[in-house]
Each structure stands twice: as structure tokens, then as C-alpha cells.
């Protein structure tokens, strides 16, 4: 009899990707829920069995203890957490408690010939996909693509003995939800001036897309807020369409977008590495292509309203 796999659910957390990844393992899936709405989050992903571990959001240290107890109680083989800062803290403590194998940002799961778990994740700055063999009695993973800011909550105060007390929380201004965007228009150093951003925004409007950028535009130039940055030190996104404008395609950026369904690259340099991860490429100047693309999209909408 195979042992079950558990997925952490919390309000607003979309765990369908985790359930899909576990699907091929032949394990029953249970949800370990945190906070009111955890049951709905499990329902939305088709998980029938939900163990609500806490009715209210709890501190990471408490979550780790509750999850360790639940994992032992149901004798789960695998626990999947969202790939997010707070849950990675929990995963580390949980793995020590359970003496489990532990990896973060896993992209794929399967079983090896001997029945043990195998997991894929990026390493070396996203240049390489590593396949890991996991041969401990339990495994704790965080999985890319199931994080959601609202869902990963912690308690207003933590640490009964006062060693770690949350004294304040200011929600970040969330004007962009890149994780939920179906289409993304991303721009890199090919954009010559911050004053040209309205041209990019116009294209995003015409496509019903969110605007994203590379690290230099957010961190070095400050033309767009950090919340719009895609890549190793920004967001990992998987939209249906990713339109990369004037982005050279350094691996640190590519790691954040290469699992998109359709990737379009526009770059003046035919040797730019972005073309290696693109489905459709145009060697050209974004300043010539973007305005014409906006016009064509607007015409298309007026022709097929």
C-alpha cells in the first residue's frame, strides 16, 4: 500500500500544479490546511481529504511543528509546500524535525525504477536542470508555481518565549500580479529610456497583458518596481504568452520565464540567447515593431469585436 502525499493549502493558494505533479506518483493526496478557506483551496484543486491543522494563520515555527505531527500521524511519504519565503523557512525546520530529504523550487516529480521519488529543479543559476534521487523515508519539497502572496500568511506574533516577535507588517503595494497573468509583455535593456515605457504599456493593454521587466530595469535603473521583475531574483512566471522585448536572455532572466507556454522574442541581435528559449522570434528593433503591433491589434479587435 502506497503512503499518501500531502499538500499544504491556505486561503487563496492555488495548489493545482502540486496536485498535477503528484498525480503521476500513484499516491493518495491529502491537504494539510492552514487558516479559514483552506478547505475551499483544497476543493478547488480536487483534494477530498483535508486535515485543517489551524483555523487561523500561525507562525512558521508553529506551522512546522503542526506539519511534522500531521506527517507522522498520516505517515505521509511526501509533503509539498509553496515556494515562498515563509514556507521555505517552514520547510527547512520541518525537514530537520522529520529527518527528511528536502529540496526547494521543484519543477517536476516522478518515480525512479526502484520506486523512490525523483525530482527536477534548476541549479547553477538556472543554466542546468538537476535530477535528484530522494531515498529517505520522507521528503519535504517546495514547488514552483503554487505560491500566492495572500495565501502564505503568518501570525501577528510569534515565539511564546519572546525570542522572535513579529512587530509589524506592511503589505507591499500589489499593482501587478505577474503570477496570475495569462499574458506578459516584458522589457529589457533594449528600451532606451524610461519615457518609452508608455509604448510598452500600450502594447500590454492591447494584449490584455501585464508588464514585466528584467533585473537591470528594476534594480539598477529603477524604471519599474521590483514587483515587476522576472528572473532569479524576481518572480517566476508561467503565462500562456510571454513577449520578450529587447531582452538579451541571460540565464538569470530566463530561469524566471522559460516555462511559459508560448515565448516571443524581439531583439536586434540575432545571436541573443533569448531566441534559444523562444517559440517565435523577430530580429528587429522593438521601436519599429511595437507601435505597428499595437496598431494591428487594435485593428484586429475592431474587425472582430
Amino acid at each position: 500500500v502506497s503512503r499518501p502525499a500531502a499538500v499544504v493549502t491556505a486561503p487563496g493558494l492555488d495548489v493545482r500544479r502540486a496536485v498535477a505533479a503528484i498525480g503521476g506518483l500513484g499516491a493518495d493526496v491529502v491537504a494539510f490546511g492552514f487558516g479559514q478557506g483552506a478547505v475551499e483551496a483544497a476543493d478547488a484543486a480536487g483534494i477530498q481529504q483535508v486535515d485543517v491543522l489551524a483555523e487561523e494563520p500561525v507562525a512558521g515555527e508553529v506551522a512546522a511543528r503542526l506539519l511534522a505531527g500531521a506527517a507522522r500521524g498520516r505517515d505521509v511519504e511526501l509533503l509539498v509546500l509553496p515556494a515562498a519565503v515563509r514556507w521555505t523557512e517552514v520547510a527547512a525546520a520541518l525537514a530537520v524535525d522529520l529527518d527528511a530529504a528536502c529540496l526547494t523550487d521543484v519543477t517536476a516529480l516522478r518515480r525512479g525504477d526502484d520506486g523512490h521519488l525523483m525530482a527536477d529543479r534548476y541549479c547553477y543559476g538556472g543554466l542546468v536542470t538537476g535530477t535528484y534521487a530522494l531515498q529517505r523515508p520522507r521528503t519535504v519539497l517546495t514547488m514552483a508555481g503554487i505560491s500566492n502572496g495572500d495565501g502564505v500568511d503568518a501570525a501577528p506574533a510569534v515565539g511564546g518565549d519572546g525570542v522572535k516577535v513579529l512587530t509589524g507588517r506592511v503589505p507591499l503595494e500589489q499593482t501587478a500580479d505577474l503570477g496570475a497573468a495569462r499574458r506578459i509583455v516584458a522589457v529589457g535593456r533594449g528600451l532606451r529610456d524610461a519615457g518609452d515605457l508608455p509604448m510598452v504599456e500600450e502594447l500590454a493593454d492591447a494584449l490584455g497583458a501585464a508588464v514585466a521587466c528584467t533585473r537591470p530595469l528594476a534594480e539598477d535603473l529603477g524604471w519599474l518596481p521590483k514587483e515587476r521583475q522576472v528572473g532569479l531574483t524576481g518572480h517566476t512566471v508561467r503565462p500562456e504568452l510571454y513577449l520578450a522585448l529587447g531582452i538579451s536572455g541571460q540565464v538569470q532572466h530566463v530561469v524566471g520565464m522559460r516555462d511559459s507556454d508560448v515565448v516571443v522574442a524581439v531583439n536586434t541581435n540575432p545571436a541573443a540567447p533569448i531566441f534559444e528559449v523562444a517559440d517565435i522570434g523577430a530580429v528587429g528593433d522593438l521601436y519599429e515593431i511595437v507601435p505597428r503591433l499595437v496598431d494591428a491589434l487594435v485593428r484586429r479587435v475592431s474587425a472582430h469585436p
Binding site: A92, A93, V96, Y124, V128, Y132, V165, T167, V264
Partner: protein, 261 residues
């Protein structure tokens, strides 16, 4: 006050090439360096050294060449360094790394704070800081963007996905830092050279009380069995002609793939 830092010696990913025939990363040929995130931790440790007279000790796990990276960290600040010589072939399981680092930390108890980077540039797990904290039974905060030390603890600011949080921490604690915390200073090759190698001690896991057979079994149980070039999309459909023709071709291709609104 005693500050411990973790510093990792990693391949420089920007200089890492893939074998054109096998697609395997040519790790042995890649240049190596200090993991960038750890430079920010070192800078913060050096600041605590200057402002609060803290003693700074640098700890690392890695191959013998990693001693060079620990010397670089000492050039930023710090009195001595301890390298745990691990039989390293590529990436080491974070669990095994954490056990070795926790054993090294215990040699320097009582300590006030461990400072390290949020993640390493090569493995990029972000697990080691939290695992070391759990092994030592002390609190951990990841993603630290601001650290204000006070007597017996600190006020810490960190950014999680959706919020900026502030914590009051009582020492001892493990804090893993974001690259946003500071601008690390540049140290020259000459400054690194001037750090005497005698300030870096090398220990085997057994010297720190870690059972080497158990460690080997642990590594075996969470190991990399294959590396391949990431990406792997078929060659792109390249659009040709004038900008107008390329735009027409693009719209047709997007419509065919059913990704237009």
C-alpha cells in the same frame, strides 16, 4: 558580541559552459568565486565588527580551494575562518551542509548571531540557514533587508512575498540576508593575498564530531543523479521581412497558437 558568517565557494555561473556534445555543465573548467549573497552577509558582519566591536568568525564547507574564498571573506572583516573539508563533487545536499555548519558553529558557542546569504548561487535552495537554526534550536529570519543590532538582540526587517515585516529577535539567532541589505565593498586581489593562510583552519567532519559514515549515507539519500542543459525548446519560428511583415507574421502565429485575447 560574536558574529559568525557562512561563506560558500561556488562555480561562477556566468563562466560555466555546457559541453557541446553531451550538454553537461563543464564544472571543472568553470572559474570559482564567493557566492554573491554571502558577500552581503560579510559586509553586514564587518559593519557589526566596526560599530559594535563584534568578533567576526567565518565558517564554510567545501573543497580545499574554498580556503581562498574564506580568505576573501576575511579581507572584508573577521579574525579567523574555519573550513570544513567535505569530499565535494558538485552540489552537496543542503541537509548535509547544514549538519556540518551547525557542528562548526558549536565550536564557537556562545555566539550572538549567524549571518549568511539567503541562498547560494549554485544550489539556490535557501534551506541551509533555516536548517542550521533548527539544528541549533534558535530562531531564523530569511530575506533580511535591514538589521539594527541592540543589546541582546536586534530589530530585523525582511521582505516576504506580499509584505515587509519587522521582527524583534533575541540572540542567538540565524539571519539570512537579501542582496538588498547593503552594497558590499570591493576587495582587491592584493588585500586577499595579504590575509595569511594561517588564519584559515581546515577541519575534517570527524574533527567536529560528525559521523562521516552517517554523513555519506545522508548525502547518498539526497543526491543529484543527472544534470542537463535547461531550456530545450525546439528552434524558434523566425519571422522575416519588413517590420510590417514581421508584425503580420507574428499575429498569425499567435492566432494559430490561440494565445491572443
Amino acid at each position: 558580541m560574536r558574529v559568525l558568517t557562512f561563506v560558500k565557494h561556488v562555480p561562477d555561473t556566468t563562466g560555466l559552459a555546457l559541453d557541446p556534445v553531451t550538454g553537461q555543465p563543464m564544472l571543472a573548467a568553470a572559474p570559482t568565486k564567493i557566492s554573491d549573497y554571502d558577500r552581503h552577509a560579510m559586509e553586514e558582519a564587518a559593519r557589526l565588527g566596526q560599530e559594535r566591536g563584534a568578533e567576526v568568525v567565518v565558517l564554510g564547507v567545501g573543497p580545499p580551494e574554498a580556503a581562498r574564498t574564506l580568505k576573501e571573506a576575511l579581507a572584508v572583516g573577521g579574525s579567523e575562518a574555519l573550513l570544513v573539508a567535505a569530499p565535494v563533487d558538485g552540489l552537496v545536499d543542503p541537509g548535509a551542509t547544514a549538519r556540518l555548519l551547525a557542528a562548526a558553529v558549536r565550536r564557537y558557542e556562545p555566539f550572538d548571531v549567524v549571518l549568511c546569504g539567503d541562498v547560494s548561487e549554485d544550489g539556490y535552495h535557501g534551506l541551509v540557514p533555516g536548517m542550521v537554526a533548527a539544528l541549533l534550536g534558535v530562531p531564523h529570519v530569511a530575506g533580511v533587508t535591514r538589521l539594527e543590532a541592540e543589546d541582546g538582540g536586534a530589530q530585523v526587517t525582511r521582505t516576504a512575498e506580499d509584505a515587509v515585516e519587522t521582527y524583534r529577535i533575541r540572540w542567538p539567532a540565524v539571519l539570512s540576508v537579501s542582496r538588498a541589505i547593503n552594497r558590499p565593498r570591493f576587495v582587491t586581489a592584493v588585500q586577499v593575498m595579504k590575509v595569511p593562510m594561517s588564519r584559515v583552519s581546515v577541519y575534517k567532519p570527524g574533527d567536529l564530531g560528525v559521523d562521516e559514515a552517517e554523513l555519506a549515507a545522508e548525502r547518498q539519500a539526497t543526491r543529484i543523479v543527472g544534470l542537463r542543459a535547461a531550456g530545450g525548446r525546439p528552434a524558434a519560428e523566425m519571422l522575416t521581412g519588413s517590420p510590417e511583415e514581421m508584425v503580420d507574421g507574428l499575429l498569425a502565429a499567435l492566432a494559430r497558437r490561440e494565445v491572443l485575447p
